[in-house]
Amino acid sequence: MQGPLIDTLARQGITRRTFLKYCTTLASMMALPPMAGRAMAETMAAAKRPSVIWLPFQECTGCTESMTRSHSPTIEGMIFDMISLDYQETLMAAAGFQAEEARQKAMKDNMGKYLLIVDGSIPLGIDGAYSCIGGRSNVDLLKEAAQGAAAIIAVGTCASYGGIPKANPNPTGAVAVSDIIKDKPIVNIPGCPPIPVVMTGVLAHYLTFGSLPDLDDKGRPKAFYGDTIHDRCYRRPFYDQGKFAKTFDDEGARQGWCLFELGCKGPVTHNACATVKWNGGTSWPVESGHGCLGCSEPDFWDGGSFYKALSTPADPLKFVAAASVVGAVAGVGVSVANRAKKGAAKSAHETTTLADLEK
C-alpha cells in the first residue's frame, strides 16, 4: 500500500496499520463487505486527489467546524488530504479576487469531474440578494458550479433541506440544493451539524468505487441514515419498559431512563448519532441527557417544541372552549325544539304508529 496519502499520513504520525483499521471501520459502518475496507485503503492511499469545490451559502460554519475539529489530530481531517480542496472560504489562505480565481480555475481545469460540496441554504428572496459572495448571489454561484460537477454533496441540514434559514416564516426564501439543481446526483448529509465520519464515508466511497452510496428517499446515505435514533438508542429498553425521565434532573434522568416524555424526537429522526457518537465516540446528545432535536430531518425547526413529547399536541388546543359551548348550545337548542314538538303532539292527541317506531 503506497501512495501520496500514506506518505502524508506517516509524516503526521498516523501509521499504515491505523489507516487500514480506519478504512475497515468505515467500510463496516457503511455495511460494505469486509474486502471493501482493504480496497478503500488501497484506492485512497493511491488516490489522485480529485478536485473539490466547497461553496458556503446561508450557513453558520458549524458544518465546517464539525468536519475540521471533530477530534485532533483527526483521520477525518486527513481524508481532506486526499482531495484537492480548491475552494473553501473558511480554510483557504487566499481571499478576494485570488479566491474567486482559484474557484474559476478549478472549475475550468476539472470540468465535469470535480466534486461540489455545499453547506448552507440558498436564498431566493429579492433575487437572491440576501446572500452574495464577490457580488454574486448564492443561487447564481450554485448554478454555475453545478454545471461542471460530477456530483454534489449537500452538507448539513441547510444545504440538504433548507434548515434553520428555511424555518417559518422563511424571511429569505431559503431552499435546499436539490430544489434548484435537478440534473446532477446529489447526496444529502443532513445534521446540525452532520457527523464527520458520514462525510468522510461518502468521500471514501466515491474515491474507492467512483460512485455515490445508496440513498434513501430523502437523498441520505442509507448506511448512516437507515435507522432511527430511537431504534439504536441505548435508552430504548427503558422506553419499552415504560420507564421515563419526567424532568432533566430527576431520579429517572440519573438512571438513564428514556427521554421520550421530555420531547425526544429520536423516534422520527434518522441519523447515526446513537451508533457512531460524537467527539471520537465519546458521547452524544441523548447520552449527555438531552433528547434528540431531530436535526437531520427536513423542517425539524418547525416540528413543534423540542420539549414536547411526540404523542402530545404540538400546539395548545385552541377551540376546546368554543366547541364545548357551541355543542352545549346546539344540544340545548335541539332539546327545546324536541320538547316543543312533543308538547304540540300531546295537545293535538297524536298517536304513535308503527311507522313512527321504524323511523
Binding site: 419498559q241 423542517d299 404523542s311 388546543l317 385552541k318 324536541n338
Partner: protein
C-alpha cells in the same frame, strides 16, 4: 409544494388534533344534551317489586350473555369481549397515549410495558377481523348490517392497525406511519359522536334506563 412526513406529523399534532377534538367535544355535548333531555312520560302505575329488577342490575347483567346465547353466538360474545378489553388496554395503558391524556386533562396513571401493549394490539386486531368475517359469513348478521356497521368497523380498526404498524416499522417509515396513525385516531374522534360508536357514552345510561323501566313493571331483564 407537497407536504413531507414531518410536516404531516406536525399538522396532525397541531391543527388536525385541534379540529378533531373540537368536533368531538361539540358532538358529544350536543348529543348528550339532546338524548338526556328527551324524557319520557311518567309511569303512573304502582311500582312492582321483583328481586334483581333495577337499573343497576341491568347495567351489569347486559354484559353477560343470556342463557344459551354464548353457545349460539360465541364469536360475538368472546370476540366482542376480547376486542373491547384490548382497545381499552391499548388506548388507556400505552405510555405515549397516557402522556397525551395527561397533557390534555392533567390526569395520569402508570402504563404497561410496550411489548405487552404490542401483543394486545395483535390479539385485538385478530378478534376484530374474526368478527368482521363472522358478520360477512352469517347471513342474518350480513342482512342486518348497514353501511354504518362496516364504516365504524374500519374507523375503529385503522388506528389500531396503523399504530401497530408504526411501532413495528411495517410498510412505511415510522414518521409517516405515526402521522397516519394520529390522523386515523382523529377521524375516529370526529366520527364517534355521530355514529353508533357513541355507545361508548350512552351504553350504561341506556341500560340503566331500560332496567329502571322494566323494574317498575317488576321484570328483571
Amino acid at each position: 409544494m407537497t407536504m413531507n412526513a414531518l410536516q404531516l406529523l406536525t399538522w396532525v399534532r397541531s391543527t388536525g388534533l385541534n379540529i378533531a377534538i373540537a368536533i368531538f367535544l361539540l358532538g358529544v355535548l350536543w348529543r348528550l344534551f339532546e338524548i338526556y333531555s328527551l324524557g319520557r312520560k311518567k309511569d303512573l302505575s304502582a311500582p312492582r317489586h321483583a328481586s334483581g329488577a333495577s337499573g343497576l342490575h341491568t347495567v351489569f347483567r347486559r354484559s353477560l350473555p343470556p342463557l344459551g346465547m354464548l353457545k349460539r353466538s360465541p364469536v360475538s360474545y368472546i370476540g366482542g369481549y376480547i376486542f373491547h378489553i384490548g382497545l381499552a388496554i391499548i388506548v388507556f395503558l400505552f405510555a405515549p397515549h397516557i402522556l397525551l391524556i395527561t397533557n390534555l386533562t392533567g390526569l395520569s396513571w402508570p402504563g404497561l410495558p410496550s411489548q405487552f401493549v404490542d401483543m394486545t394490539a395483535v390479539v385485538t386486531m385478530a378478534a376484530m377481523v374474526v368478527m368482521l368475517a363472522d358478520r360477512i359469513n352469517k347471513p342474518v348478521k350480513r342482512f342486518i348490517s348497514t353501511f354504518e356497521d362496516w364504516f365504524t368497523w374500519a374507523v375503529t380498526f385503522l388506528p389500531v392497525l396503523t399504530g401497530w404498524m408504526a411501532f413495528q416499522h411495517v410498510l412505511l417509515p415510522y414518521t409517516t406511519m405515526l402521522a397516519l396513525h394520529i390522523l386515523s385516531a382523529e377521524i375516529l374522534l370526529v366520527v364517534l359522536p355521530f355514529s353508533k360508536l357513541f355507545h361508548g357514552f350512552t351504553l350504561f345510561g341506556s341500560r340503566w334506563y331500560n332496567g329502571r323501566v322494566n323494574a317498575h313493571k317488576g321484570v328483571p331483564v
